[in-house]
């Protein structure tokens, strides 16, 4: 497993990724576009504008809403510019004016001077803050690339790991043929959302394509139909395919849930020994369905065993 990378988020990246969705328009301060956003959140600098900088959240994207804008206006041009100047000097990454308010020319000049990008957006402040928070959450999500293909089996996102040549692609093809959809072939990008959910996707370059030994690169939606692909999926189960002879111990009962750790999250893990003649696609399918049962609270192996023990305890007539 690779080391998870802590993403570096610059104003430029934030702008390029979300300008359209957040309706952002650069007004001034373009020279500071490579400023780093150090915290993935949005802050309304009301207190700072009023003069209080203790605990000021300068690491975040700053949003000037209707309230702040009205407050600045009430101060008069000169004082307002002074306050904004102070804000721009305090190492903030960028400043966004919501409700399509345009910062006065003097503020724009200062933004250029202090190299802090000034944006405006047509969105109302609340909607902008919500949308920008979600967008930043995505940008800041820790991510990692795992060697393995990912398939969505009836809503269960399954990462299929295994050494090169063990038959991952063949298993994936068998699953696609059964009507399940491909998320990623061979390398899966996984990111941790809100510290509780892992989401797998493929790199944009290789998306919707597979490399199969002997066939070369195939276009999955062209061969299997558009339902055979999906851009991303929550990860629920890890399946590792292993050569039969390399597996020291095969779990024969499945009472003890094995786990596999990705970005600090523990995922249910199943190891499947591979041997010619075994229908691996089918086995992965059943593993996913069993996982689905478990997510509904039914642990077949455990329940079976409890029933058996109870039966043995009851003396036979």
């Amino acid at each position: 497993m690779q080391q998870p990378s802590i993403p570096i988020v610059t104003v430029e990246r934030f702008f390029l990724n979300h300008a359209e969705k957040l309706q952002l328009q650069l007004v001034a301060g373009g020279a500071g576009i490579s400023n780093r956003i150090l915290e993935g959140a949005v802050h309304r600098p009301g207190l700072a504008l009023a003069g209080s900088y203790k605990y000021f959240a300068y690491k975040r994207v700053q949003a000037i809403g209707a309230a702040e804008f009205a407050f600045l206006k009430s101060l008069g041009e000169a004082e307002a510019s002074k306050r904004i100047g102070q804000l721009l000097k305090s190492k903030i990454p960028c400043l966004v004016f919501a409700r399509n308010n345009t910062p006065p020319p003097r503020m724009q000049e200062m933004a250029n001077e202090y190299r802090v990008p000034l944006f405006k957006t047509k969105m109302i402040t609340l909607r902008f803050i919500n949308a920008a928070t979600i967008a930043l959450e995505l940008d800041f999500a820790p991510h990692v690339s795992e060697q393995g293909s990912m398939v969505d089996i009836l809503g269960i996102g399954v990462l299929i790991r295994g050494e090169s040549g063990v038959g991952k692609s063949e298993a994936v093809l068998a699953l696609l043929e059964r009507g399940y959809s491909l998320v990623s072939d061979d390398v899966t990008r996984i990111r941790l959302l809100e510290g509780r959910e892992l989401v797998g996707t493929s790199s944009e370059t290789t998306r919707y394509h597979m490399e199969v030994r002997g066939l070369g690169i195939i276009n999955v939606p062209a061969v299997f139909g558009v339902a055979a692909v999906r851009p991303e999926k929550r990860l629920d189960l890890v399946v590792t395919l292993m050569e039969w002879n390399k597996m020291e111990e095969v779990d024969r009962i499945g009472i003890d849930q094995q786990t596999y750790s990705v970005l600090g999250m523990s995922l249910p893990h199943v190891s499947i020994p591979v041997r010619p003649g075994r229908d691996i696609g089918r086995l992965i399918e059943v593993a996913a369905l069993d996982q689905k049962l478990k997510s509904l609270g039914h642990y077949a192996a455990l329940e079976f065993n409890e029933r058996l023990i109870e039966r043995m305890r009851t003396p036979k007539p």
Binding site: R252, I253, A301, F304, N305, L308, I309, M312
Partner: protein
Amino acid sequence: MLEHGKTENNAPATTVTREITVVNQLGIHARPAAAFVKLANKFQSDITIEKDGERINGKSIMGLLMLGAAQGSKLTVIANGRDAEAAVHEIEELFARKFDEN
């Protein structure tokens, strides 16, 4: 039952039969069954378990579970093959160790 002349390591195939009592508290549930099958699979000999007239293959987990062998049950272990003696010996030990359950 004895098969002669089919050996590679000169040990003749034999049949060893032994009666073993289940001593662990919970009886043969899933974990002991898995431990048993794992051990049985180490041997080349065929291993058969008999309980109350029912015979099952000692290398089958579902078979063992089907027996429902509670604490105190008496099982007959029959091993047939070149390593039959060793197999029965180790199986006996596994029962005595209570399948290594805490």
